[in-house]
């Protein structure tokens, strides 16, 4: 998954120095870049296995929102998208072998609206950073905080067994 080079949706990929300035806990080998930046899909799409559409409840073919889901970006609505796909809530923030995990972040100033979703495939945490690049990161706390572009706090974690 991830945007290959030279496609229409690719935007400028920022350098590691720029990225680490935006997310001050990233650095020292605790993450790696996994794709080019692209505005084609967002973190929620990425966590749900879609790298063609931007998941947001807006009209237009470039946006997608699950037809049965509540049409807003609240923590509750996003959590239900995952539970409808077979995930169940857990308190465990660690990567678990044999489980997909989704971690939903919310901004400290707006605890009811999701700001980011990270996905674990049982080996590593993966994140699509907005219109930026995909990264693999060692833990959830690397994107937590309220400095620069950090995503706030993890408010919900869900998991389901890998088939």
């Amino acid at each position: 998954m991830g945007a290959p080079e030279g496609i229409a949706g690719v935007v400028r990929t920022i350098t590691p120095i720029e990225l680490e300035a935006r997310f001050p806990k990233l650095g020292g080998g605790n993450y790696k870049r996994a794709s080019q930046a692209t505005a084609r899909y967002n973190c929620l799409a990425f966590a749900c296995g879609d790298d063609r559409r931007w998941w947001e409840p807006r009209p237009g073919g470039r946006f997608y929102w699950p037809p049965d889901a509540q049409r807003d970006t609240s923590l509750a609505a996003v959590t239900r998208i995952f539970t409808a796909d077979g995930y169940s809530e857990t308190e465990d923030r660690n990567i678990e072998s044999g489980y997909l995990k989704a971690a939903i972040y919310v901004e400290l100033e707006d605890l009811d609206t999701y700001s980011h979703v990270a996905l674990s495939d049982g080996l590593v945490w993966k994140s699509k950073l907005g219109k930026g690049q995909d990264i693999e990161h060692a833990s959830l706390d690397l994107l937590e905080g309220n400095q620069k572009d950090e995503y706030g706090i993890v408010a919900a974690i869900l998991r389901k067994a890998i088939q």
């Binding site: 935007v11 400028r12 237009g60 907005g130 219109k131």
Partner: protein, 176 residues
């Protein structure tokens, strides 16, 4: 009868007297007098009530191009556009919500710049931006071009929307 002998002030006597009076005395160096500051208040009166001549009324004025002021205005506008584009891209790069992105002050300002620009200028620059680095400029283009002009089929994805707007720009002569 004369009570006083009239004093005679011939030139030679005057010089001698002046030299005696102004002879520096020992221990008393000559003290030069500094000129007193004098405030000069000059007022220039310009008859500014008369209307300026129009360009057409004075043949010589027809020869003076107004290109420089127009170019300055254009450059300032272009600078402002670039500044807001860069700020918007910088601030929103890691956001997950397009609804939030298009409410960013710089995004709104870019749309607002159209009021100061020439016909279709902001649309032209946005299309060039879309061509160089595809991003969510669709709402701005839609706002500027008018809803009736939206060239994107309802089910087109991101790449389809980019291509539809670029094709629209070519049709309108806004892109080469």
């Amino acid at each position: 009868m004369l009570l006083h002998k009239p004093t005679r002030y011939g030139r030679a006597r005057t010089r001698r007297r002046s030299a005696k009076l102004h002879k520096p005395q020992e221990g008393h160096p000559i003290r030069r007098l500094e000129p007193l500051p004098v405030a000069v208040n000059v007022q220039v009166f310009i008859a500014d009530i008369a209307p300026l001549p129009t360009r057409g009324a004075v043949p010589a004025l027809r020869q003076i191009p107004l290109v420089d002021s127009q170019r300055d205005k254009q450059e300032k506008l272009r600078y402002s556009f670039r500044e807001h584009v860069e700020r918007w891209k910088n601030d929103t790069q890691h956001w997950s919500s397009v609804a939030k992105m298009i409410a960013h002050p710089s995004y709104l300002r870019i749309v607002g710049l159209a009021g100061q620009a020439g016909a279709n200028e902001i649309e032209r620059w946005l299309l060039q931006e879309l061509q160089a680095e595809p991003d969510y400029w669709f709402d701005a283009l839609n706002a500027l071009a008018g809803e009736d002009e939206d060239p994107v089929p309802p089910l087109d994805d991101f790449d389809g929307a980019v291509n539809a707007w670029l094709a629209w720009g070519h049709r309108k002569g806004l892109l080469e």
